[in-house]
């Protein structure tokens, strides 16, 4: 499951999807909108994507981690649009026969998302806003 969505992400649904009888471990990363950045109070975040390419990149990362580790299923869902403090911006859930593979694959997949998936974050403060990494 590789998806970019404007809708809220339901972690339980994603974990249910990755669970399989032969998988003894599910590791989930739930990325949450935090109320501060670089010492400033954040009101909300806005995410924008190149959605077709972002979903393709998520799928490529998913296939890459399946080659590197012994896994059952991989789900990667990124939300876009305006997100409030405490909401999930990204959920990555990995099932595997054993926990070591699930932990490693989940962390690696998240690091790859940060490097290469065409999605952009705008931090909106009490006064002003900026696009992360460039503005």
């Amino acid at each position: 499951m590789y998806r970019v969505t404007k809708d809220p992400i339901w972690v339980e649904e994603i974990e249910a999807w990755v669970k399989e009888p032969s998988a003894g471990a599910v590791v989930t990363f739930d990325g949450i909108v935090r109320n501060n950045a670089e010492g400033r109070a954040v009101r909300f975040l806005e995410y924008e994507a190149y959605p077709e390419m972002a979903e393709k990149c998520l799928g490529e990362i998913g296939e890459e981690v399946k080659r590197k580790w012994h896994l059952n299923k991989v789900a990667m869902v990124h939300r876009i649009g305006r997100l409030a403090i405490g909401e999930s911006s990204i959920v990555i859930s990995v099932s595997a026969p054993h926990r070591a593979d699930a932990f490693a694959a989940c962390q690696y997949a998240m690091d790859r998302v940060k490097e290469s998936v065409p999605i952009w974050k705008k931090e909106c403060f009490e006064e002003g806003a900026h696009w992360v990494n460039i503005d």
Partner: protein
């Protein structure tokens, strides 16, 4: 004689905001490189200036280096540094 092609370049995030549009149109020689596209964009859209050096180009949804060739009908985009997650 070399023919030219019209390329639409999708832009996102800060580029979309600064330029006030989602797609830039440029004319390039048929089979021009990604590097040639970047030069043309810099000439045609001065507002891109501060950002262009840090942007990547995708062709048909794959990141491409400056030597890659663009064909008429390709899906081209100019991507600022990503910050998802």
């Amino acid at each position: 004689m070399a023919t030219s092609m019209q390329i639409g370049v999708r832009v996102f995030a800060i580029l979309k905001e600064r330029l006030g549009r989602e797609e830039l149109r440029v004319e390039l020689p048929e089979g021009a490189s990604v590097g040639a596209l970047l030069v043309k964009l810099e000439e045609s859209f001065p507002a891109l200036g501060p950002y262009l050096e840090r942007c990547m180009v995708s062709v048909n949804q794959n990141y491409e280096a400056k030597g890659a060739v663009i064909r008429e009908g390709d899906e081209v985009a100019l991507l600022p540094p990503v910050s998802g997650g």
